[in-house]
Every structure is written in structure tokens, then in C-alpha cells.
């Protein structure tokens, strides 16, 4: 989509773009190019020397079944974080949209988790679910649930998914609520007259009309689950037990930041960049198409 009306000016657009372009080039392209270059090197951590190894970092990664496994882990993690946080948020939003009294208070309270730093969120959740000190873990064990996320990969995954999803509920809730309020009342009335009851109206009218919001949130949540959750994973499970909660970004972090294996870490960054690039293109495609809605 393009604007029909534009200004004619030769210099001005470049001037307007300069600050962002400078920042982008200096702090994005330059480092990204270095990462790209490093992915072809096997450097020692201190940068005292490096061997050019072509694609062997990538080869190494793709021969590592644990790395491939972490794609699956990431997919599972991302899928559930997105599913849980979006569906819970949608449920709340639908209800808050309908109740007239108290909607403001509900909204204000639901916003809180959004303000919590991921690093702190991880600790909060440990305080609830860590088998040794967690309050909720204590009561779970008291009622006979075999709660042991330090050894049970499934439970560990559940835990990090819940914690990560929790932080994102507020954000999704606000967007869904806004989206719901933007649906023309007359469409819902039309459906009521067409004979649709509440649930039917939601399923066949409201939910489809919410799809631009839903898609936008889908992308945002996927990106969130991909990149911004490593603080949570780091504090809560460190990727374990086994590798059951090692998602791609955590691996980039732990190989590069903890393990000082800069070549592998750079190669992983490059792979992530590609994945993200694909996501970006998909998002643009979709948004461009739906703007005319």
C-alpha cells in the first residue's frame, strides 16, 4: 500500500531518515555483519586469533542432534506460550468487554505482570513452584501431586511455559480488548437477528473479525517466546532437566555467553536471523493484504 499524495522534496527525506539509518547501521548492521563474519571463524574467546573455517560451524550445528532437538523444543515452547497467553488473554478480554461495571479495575489489575522484568519474573515463579521453597509446590506435594520439575522434563516445560505466558497475558489482553471494542456493534446485532446466540456470534463473527489483532499478536508472541524468554529460562531451569527446556535463544546465550564458543554462537545467531527474517516477511505480506479490509 502506498500513499497517493506525497511531498516533493529532494533533501528532506534523507535528512529525516538519517538518525534512524545511522543508528541502524552502526548498532545493527555493523554488529550483524561481524556476527556473520564470526560465524565463519573459529575464534578464541579473547579475539587473539581466529581460524577461518568456512561453514564448519554450521556443519557442526546441523550434525548435532541436540541442536536440532532444540528446534523442536523451541517450537513446542513457542506454540504453548503463544496458545496459553493468547487464549487466556482472549477469555479475559471477552469478559471484560461484556461487563460494564468494574471493567476499569480489572484492566488496571491485569496490567501488572507486564511491568515485571523477565529476570525478576523467573524468581517470582521459583518462589511458587520450586520444589524446595515454592509455596504452591508445597501445597501440591501436600495433596499428593508428584511435582518435581527438576527431573521431570514435562513439568519443567510446563513451568517455564506458564511463567513465560504469564508475563505476556497483559499485553495480549490490552490488544484483544481494544480489538473487540473496535468491532462494529451493528455486525453483532446483525448476527443476533440472524439467529445466532452468544457462543455462535463469538465463533463465527467476533473471532474471525478479530483475526487481524490475533495475527498481529501471534507474531508478537512468537517473537517474544523466541527471544525475550531466555531470562525466564535462565533463572528457572537453565535449559534442563536434560535439554528439555533448551530453546534456541537460550542456546545462543549459553554457548556464546557462558561457553565462550563465539563461532558456534555466531552461527546460531545467523540461523536465528534467517528464521526471524522469514517471520518478518510473512508478517509484512499479511499486514499488507489485510490493510484493505
Amino acid at each position: 500500500m502506498e500513499k497517493r499524495v506525497t511531498f516533493d522534496n529532494r533533501l528532506l527525506p534523507y535528512l529525516l531518515l538519517t538518525p534512524q539509518l545511522v543508528v541502524t547501521i552502526v548498532f545493527f548492521f555493523w554488529p550483524a555483519a561481524q556476527a556473520l563474519y564470526q560465524s565463519l571463524l573459529l575464534p578464541d574467546p579473547f579475539g587473539l586469533g581466529a581460524r577461518f573455517v568456512w561453514f564448519s560451524n554450521f556443519e557442526y550445528l546441523f550434525n548435532d542432534r541436540y541442536y536440532l532437538q532444540s528446534f523442536v523444543t523451541t517450537a513446542v515452547f513457542t506454540f504453548f506460550v503463544t496458545l496459553v497467553s493468547m487464549s487466556v488473554a482472549l477469555l479475559f478480554a471477552v469478559m471484560a468487554d461484556q461487563v460494564i461495571k468494574g471493567a476499569g479495575a480489572y484492566k488496571t489489575l491485569l496490567i501488572w505482570p507486564y511491568a515485571v522484568a523477565p529476570a525478576v519474573a523467573g524468581v517470582m515463579w521459583l518462589f511458587m513452584f520450586q520444589p524446595s521453597i515454592g509455596v504452591i509446590a508445597f501445597y501440591m506435594k501436600a495433596i499428593g501431586i508428584d511435582w518435581n520439575p527438576v527431573l521431570d522434563g514435562g513439568q519443567a516445560m510446563t513451568l517455564v511455559i506458564l511463567a513465560a505466558a504469564w508475563k505476556q497475558i497483559s499485553y495480549n489482553f490490552l490488544f484483544f480488548l481494544a480489538g473487540l471494542q473496535a468491532i462494529p456493534k451493528s455486525l453483532i446485532e446483525a448476527a443476533a437477528i440472524d439467529g445466532a446466540g452468544k457462543w455462535h456470534r463469538f465463533r463465527t463473527i467476533i473471532f474471525p473479525l478479530l483475526s487481524p489483532t490475533t495475527f498481529f499478536l501471534l507474531v508478537v508472541n512468537i517473537v517474544y517466546a523466541f527471544f525475550e524468554t531466555f531470562g525466564i529460562i535462565h533463572t528457572m531451569t537453565s535449559g534442563g532437566p536434560g535439554q528439555s527446556t533448551t530453546i534456541l535463544v537460550y542456546k545462543v546465550y549459553s554457548d556464546g555467553f557462558v561457553g565462550q564458543d563465539l563461532g558456534s554462537s555466531a552461527a546460531q545467531s545467523v540461523i536465528l536471523m534467517v528464521v526471524v527474517g522469514i517471520l518478518t516477511v510473512i508478517q509484512f505480506r499479511f499486514i499488507e493484504r489485510r490493510v484493505h479490509y
Binding site: 451493528s186 437477528i193 440472524d194 445466532a196
Partner: protein, 357 residues
């Protein structure tokens, strides 16, 4: 198949009452048009029939059944909205089929009914399109089709044509009327366009500020408006209204002029309003003339000419008038136009209550 009976229905939003007790009986198959200025409560009344607004007081019956507490879907109605309210994510076919699907009709029946409606509305080529790929007129027809396929007891229309351009409006107007005739369904139709009101209605409900001022056939409303408001609202350009009082067989204008009256009401001396429609003023010879119009502006419409002016000269003063003259009458601002009033085409209203005398 359905009569509607509205008995002293009222509606308040919070403390403000916006419908002050409207009663109306609609016969089966009748086409009722509700007309009135913006904000007078037309939509509110219609939406109460639809079940989209709660009724504050009074009773509402559809087909003999009290529906006050029934949900829209239990009322057996279909509604066409002003902005169409088409489901943007569904194809034309699905838009029309939606109500049928919900009603649990079979695939075959749905297809057959939609096809039939589409044929009637000439929508066949567009069945697979999304609403956004349709022109205004086509969308309008889809909205109509959606109501049509349901085969309801009552059709409700809320200004369905007001978003269309003039040309399309004329065409759709005819189509709606024909469609309603052919299916014979009771219809309530809200508009503020009086041409629509006149051409479509079996009976007209003229509303003003939450009250039904007159309920009658269009011609009766045109010919014998019950109130000054109705007189001014129906007819374009609006009826000329002059202030004055009756004196013998004449109407004496405030400015001093005199007009002959067809009938002689008793109420001599009481302040009254004298009304005559622009189309009932005719050019006359200077001798015959009962009125002289000092023309201030002229609008030529091709088929007619509108002469705006003030009463002047010997036999009249003190009023603004519009005369509608056939064809392209040769008048220009500054002329004085000798006019007569067509017989039996004058109206008198009480100056205070606005009621017809």
C-alpha cells in the same frame, strides 16, 4: 403472516425518555414507513421491534405474541441496517446463508434459497466475492438478500438507502417495493428521505421528538397533514407557512395582506398558520392573481423552476414564499410574479399547538 401491534411503547435511556408512548397496529403484509428528522427516535422504535433495545414500558406483539422479553432470534424478524452490517470476512453467499446455517437448514435448501434470492437481486455474479469488493449498491442488495432468504415474518429496514447515491437510490427504492410486494412480508422501514417515504409506504408514520404525529397513507399525509410539523416535513420544497388569523372568508396575514380561504373555519381572530405548497401556487394573469411574489432567487431544475421570494404589493405583505413552476418558466430575481392558489389546496393550523384546524 404477521401483524405487529405496538401499544404505548416507551423507551428511556437512563432518565431521559426518548420515545414517549407510541402506538401502532400493522396489518399482515403491510409496508409501514417511519419517517422523521434525525434524532426523533425512528431507529430506537425499530430496534425495539427487533429486540436490540429493551422496551421500557408498553407492550409489543408480533404475530399476536408478546415479544417484550424475547431475544432477537426468537422474534422471527430480519433487519437491513443503514451501513449494511455485512460480515466482512464472509463471501456474499455466506453472508446470505448465515442465518439459514444457524437455523440448521440443509446444504441443499440453503443453496437453493440463496440462489433464488441472488437471482431476484441480480447478485449471481458476485456470490463468491467478499463485501469489500462490491460497490455500494451491490452491498445494499446483499444486505437485502440476507434478510430475504430468511423468509421472516417481519422485515425491518433502518435507512437502508441513505448511503447510496441519488441515482442508485431511485433504482433500489423500486426494487425494495417490488420485492416486498412479491413476498408479501410485513415491513417496517425507517427513513428520513421523504421521497422514499412517499413512494414506498402503504402507511406512513411521521415521527417527531419521540411522538408519532401522524399515521396514515402517504397521500393522506400529503394532502391533509395533521400538524404543522408534518406539513413542513412532507413535501419538497417544504410547504409555505404564513402567520395570521381568519377574518370572515379571508386569512389576514401578519403583515396585513389577505388571502381567500376555501373553507371558512369559525375561529375568527385566533392566531393561525396558513399553509400552501409551492406546487400549488400557479402563475396567473395580473388580474386573477391573489398573491404577488417579489422574486429574490430562482433555481432552474430543468423540469421545474423554483421561485423564491416575498409577498408584496397591494394584496399581501410579510411572508416568504417559494413557488414551484413547471418547466423553465422565464422568471428572474427582481420580477414580480402574480400567483393564484390552487383550489382546495390550502391548509390551516393552530399557531400554538400546530394541530390542523
Amino acid at each position: 403472516m404477521a401483524t405487529i401491534s405496538i401499544r404505548d411503547v416507551r423507551k428511556s435511556y437512563g432518565k431521559t425518555e426518548v420515545i414517549h408512548g407510541v402506538s401502532l397496529d400493522v396489518a399482515d403484509g403491510e409496508f409501514i414507513v417511519i419517517v422523521g428528522p434525525s434524532g426523533c427516535g425512528k431507529s430506537t422504535l425499530l430496534r425495539m421491534v427487533a429486540g436490540l433495545e429493551r422496551i421500557t414500558a408498553g407492550t409489543m406483539e408480533i404475530g399476536g405474541r408478546v415479544v417484550n422479553d424475547l431475544e432477537p432470534r426468537e422474534r422471527d424478524i430480519a433487519m437491513v441496517f443503514q451501513n449494511y452490517a455485512l460480515y466482512p470476512h464472509m463471501s456474499v453467499f455466506d453472508n446470505m446463508a448465515y442465518g439459514l446455517k444457524i437455523a440448521g437448514k440443509t446444504k441443499d435448501e440453503i443453496r437453493q434459497r440463496v440462489d433464488q434470492a441472488a437471482a431476484m437481486l441480480q447478485l449471481e455474479p458476485y456470490l463468491d466475492r467478499k463485501p469489500r469488493a462490491l460497490s455500494g449498491g451491490q452491498r445494499q442488495r446483499v444486505a437485502m438478500g440476507r434478510a430475504l432468504v430468511r423468509n421472516p415474518a417481519v422485515f425491518l429496514f433502518d435507512e437502508p438507502l441513505s448511503n447510496l447515491d441519488a441515482k442508485l437510490r431511485v433504482q433500489m427504492r423500486l426494487e425494495i417495493k417490488q420485492m416486498q410486494r412479491s413476498v408479501g412480508t410485513t415491513a417496517l422501514y425507517v427513513t428520513h428521505d421523504q421521497v422514499e417515504a412517499m413512494t414506498l409506504a402503504d402507511r406512513l408514520v411521521v415521527m417527531n421528538a419521540g411522538i408519532a404525529e401522524q399515521i396514515d397513507t402517504p397521500m393522506a399525509v400529503y394532502e391533509r397533514p395533521a400538524t404543522r410539523f408534518v406539513a413542513g416535513f412532507i413535501g419538497s420544497p417544504a410547504m409555505n407557512i404564513l402567520k395570521g388569523s381568519v377574518s370572515g372568508a379571508d386569512f389576514v396575514l401578519e403583515g396585513g395582506g389577505k388571502l381567500a380561504l376555501d373553507t371558512k373555519p369559525e375561529e375568527t381572530g385566533r392566531p393561525l398558520l396558513f399553509g400552501v405548497r409551492p406546487e400549488h401556487l400557479q402563475i396567473a394573469t395580473a388580474k386573477e392573481a391573489t398573491l404577488n411574489l417579489s422574486v429574490t432567487a430562482v433555481e432552474t431544475l430543468g423540469a421545474d423552476t423554483l421561485a423564491h421570494g416575498t409577498l408584496s404589493g397591494a394584496n399581501g405583505a410579510g411572508g416568504e414564499l417559494i413557488a414551484r413552476l413547471p418547466g423553465s418558466a422565464k422568471v428572474a430575481p427582481g420580477d414580480t410574479l402574480p400567483l393564484t392558489v390552487q383550489e382546495n389546496m390550502t391548509h390551516l393550523f393552530d399557531a400554538e399547538t400546530g394541530k390542523r384546524v
